[in-house]
């Protein structure tokens, strides 16, 4: 199983400004300290090996879209944030080059705009012969997708899409066999509800997608259910938008969680890896990198036995499970 991140930003797409790139280039030149490079490959190796992530690269700015890929069978996609535009093109390339079936199973965490805004730009939806099945815990998923393509918002109405598009409402507390995976669903605290997903492949590898999920301070006992749902997962993709202090003070009831609670849940679940996700749109690359370093440190400080590997999701990251 491979988990590929096409969009990792929370709430609103962001893009670096001219000054952001100028800063990175300047920092890289200072770090190079007059070194010369034989060719671009040597320069790229320097970026890879000697520069920190926030200087040499970027976490990206597309909103939530994560692919759970078995390498065969239909495509499995979590959320339709702005990252799904690129996923659409790349999966079509794989259909052409690798003979993958033109079938996409979409799993929606919820219907907030940042999680559906990419759909009008999802090229397979425009194609005859494509099959798209949109799974959601919400019975009103179809209404949300149709509404964003009403004439006041978008020039192409939903009914003009040529793909065969079907909506299925999933229930919690049971398992579904879909494509190459077994899927189960958990209800999460968020405005108009959200749902987390557990994907298990035939080799028993497990990936969890849990975004836009607030773990409420006055309902801490509910966290046992999440630890169980995350149980022994190979990768948990978790909403870590705020600091713990923010999530219980100013930003309480905003529907998001913290890096600290994510680590605790993964420790309790005995999960192997955590991917920090749904990054705060006001955060710079340096801010996200610092949050990542601090989360690694918190994991070390509170670890009981087995280490939890803490990754920080970025647009373009692919994790092999």
């Amino acid at each position: 199983m491979q988990v590929r991140f096409w969009g990792t930003r929370g709430s609103l797409p962001v893009a670096p400004k001219a000054g952001t790139i100028a800063d990175k280039v300047a920092d890289a030149l200072v770090a190079a300290n007059g070194r010369s490079f034989a060719d671009k490959a040597a320069a790229l190796a320097f970026v890879e090996d000697d520069l920190d992530f926030a200087t040499g690269r970027s976490y990206g700015g597309a909103t939530s879209c994560v692919e759970v890929d078995m390498g065969e069978g239909p495509f499995i996609v979590c959320d339709l944030g702005s990252g799904v535009r690129e996923l659409g093109l790349d999966t079509l390339r794989r259909c052409a080059q690798e003979g993958r079936p033109k079938e996409w199973h979409i799993f929606l965490s919820h219907l907030h705009w940042d999680h559906i805004m990419g759909f009008p730009f999802f090229v397979p939806a425009f194609m005859d012969g494509a099959k798209i099945i949109i799974h959601a815990g919400h019975p009103d998923a179809e209404q949300a997708l149709r509404r964003q393509q009403e004439e006041i918002s978008f020039p192409v109405p939903f009914d003009w899409l040529k793909a065969d598009i079907e909506f299925r409402t999933l229930e919690t507390g049971r398992e579904y066999e879909i494509g190459e995976v077994t899927v189960s669903v958990i209800l999460q605290h968020h405005s108009h509800d959200s749902y987390g997903y557990r994907f298990r492949d035939r080799d028993g590898k497990v990936a969890i997608y849990s975004t836009d999920s607030e773990h409420k301070i006055d309902q801490m006992h509910d966290e046992n259910d999440f630890a169980q749902f995350f149980g022994h997962a190979d990768l948990v993709v978790c909403d870590t938008m705020y600091s713990l202090a923010d999530s219980v003070s100013m930003k309480e009831d905003w529907g998001h969680s913290s890096n600290i609670v994510a680590v605790d849940l993964c420790h309790e679940a005995k999960a192997r890896r955590l991917a920090l996700f749904h990054h705060e749109p006001t955060y710079s690359d340096a801010d996200i990198q610092r949050m990542h370093e601090e989360t690694i440190r918190y994991e070390e400080l509170t670890r009981d036995t087995d280490a939890l590997e803490v990754l920080c999701a970025y647009d373009g990251l692919c994790v092999e499970l």
């Binding site: 600091s243 713990l244 202090a245 440190r297 400080l301």
Partner: protein, 113 residues
Amino acid sequence: MASTLEWQVDKRDGGTVVAASGRVDESTATEFAEVLGEHAETAGARLVVDLGGIEYMSSRGLRALTLAHRRGEEAGTKIALARPNETMREILSISRYDMVFPVADTIEEALAS
């Protein structure tokens, strides 16, 4: 084996100093929250949580501090944290709890903060 915390309570002028020792994790967080919450309602102007004997605290322990703070608000009790070890100091910083609670090196400073 369920672990528990050991508690010491010291009433002083202008407040109460409560010290727990052990690890505040999933198994002890409920006890930590309940005992602290009760003290927050009766502590007087200031409840000093002496962290000197706390090995470390997970998010449940940190959030118990917030719950105690809320219970104390009605009674007019303010909470201050004292004597965190290096680990606790780092956890307070990473969680940004050092931005919402005063953190002091000594009990006296915490009482006066």
